[in-house]
């Protein structure tokens, strides 16, 4: 059985937390020195979509056909119903069902 709170583990968590908090605060802090010109505005406006694609596309390509198909299913549901909740459930259900049927990935 492991100890309740190991001190070396706590130290590792503290370092990871410091890095993450610095990321969360750092962008806001840096933007205090940036003049929001129309160009910067366009860059900020493009960020949500860019982050989504950059984070999800390699994971999808890596995940194989089941993951890609499940993501398309989630997008199709969103286009039809505009309901994020149903989209997530459908994405999970499609992947779970495909794997239960023996499709890999």
């Amino acid at each position: 059985m492991t100890d309740f709170l190991r001190s070396d583990v706590m130290l590792a968590f503290a370092v990871m937390t410091a890095v993450t908090v610095a990321s969360r605060l750092g962008g806001y802090w840096l933007m205090g020195y940036v003049n929001v010109t129309p160009r910067v505005r366009r860059m900020l406006d493009a960020l949500p979509g860019s982050i989504i694609v950059a984070a999800a596309l390699p994971v999808a390509v890596n995940g194989g056909p089941v993951v890609i198909f499940a993501i398309f299913a989630a997008m199709a549901v969103t286009i039809i119903r505009r309901n994020d909740f149903i989209a997530v459930i459908v994405g999970m259900a499609v992947a779970a069902a495909a794997r239960a049927l023996g499709f890999g990935g």
Binding site: P38, S50, R82
Partner: protein, 246 residues
Amino acid sequence: MHNTHIPKAPAYWSRAAILPGIVAIGPMLPGTLAFGMAFGALCAQKNFSLAEVVVMMGTVYGGLSQFVAVQSWPDVLTPGTIATLALLTLTVNIRFMLMSATLRPWFGTLPAWQAYSSMLLVTDGGWLAAMRYRDRGGADAMFYIGGGIVLYLVWLVAAIPGFLLAEQLTDPKKYGVDLVMPAFYAAMLVPAWKGPRRAIPWVVSGVVALLVHWLVAGWWFIIAGALSGALSAGFMDEPEKSGAAA
């Protein structure tokens, strides 16, 4: 078509936006719970104590980075291996920097302590929901905080059932848990669609992310793709003028 260049109201606080903010992140709650449970199960297999897992949920508070770190958790923690974990965490979580940057035009008029405390709640889902609200002209900071606090509390406890049920959850993929974030992302991308021109940065982001993913080990592809996409949007001309220089 929505015009994003209309001046938007500065941030204010009112209770009226708490409930809408919670409703907006509602679709993420089951997925967050499932993701947290899968993480708890992973931690149980890696011999963390339940107390340690809860501490990590509440302090690091970055689901993907926690997963990546625990999956490659070293047998012995030394200054070297802790530095490796820190770098890994940075590559996964540096996207939060971009997210909090986009919140400055909205939160910038608030007192610094309020704005910086708010930034501690930046997550993928909470931020995306807040951006969508802002895009529609919303200015009530409570919308973001209300949803953010609920997400935090759900995440804080989500690992506990997973940790305790670890034997049943050894293969979270069986339940499609790995689709939680991609499916939510995909759902958020659809309403962000404002015509092919505005999607050019997405293509740039995707191509760069894939290339970096194939060429560079680790998780740099997120920040590389996101930054490239945003920069390409900055180099494009205003839609009124013809000829994009992307």
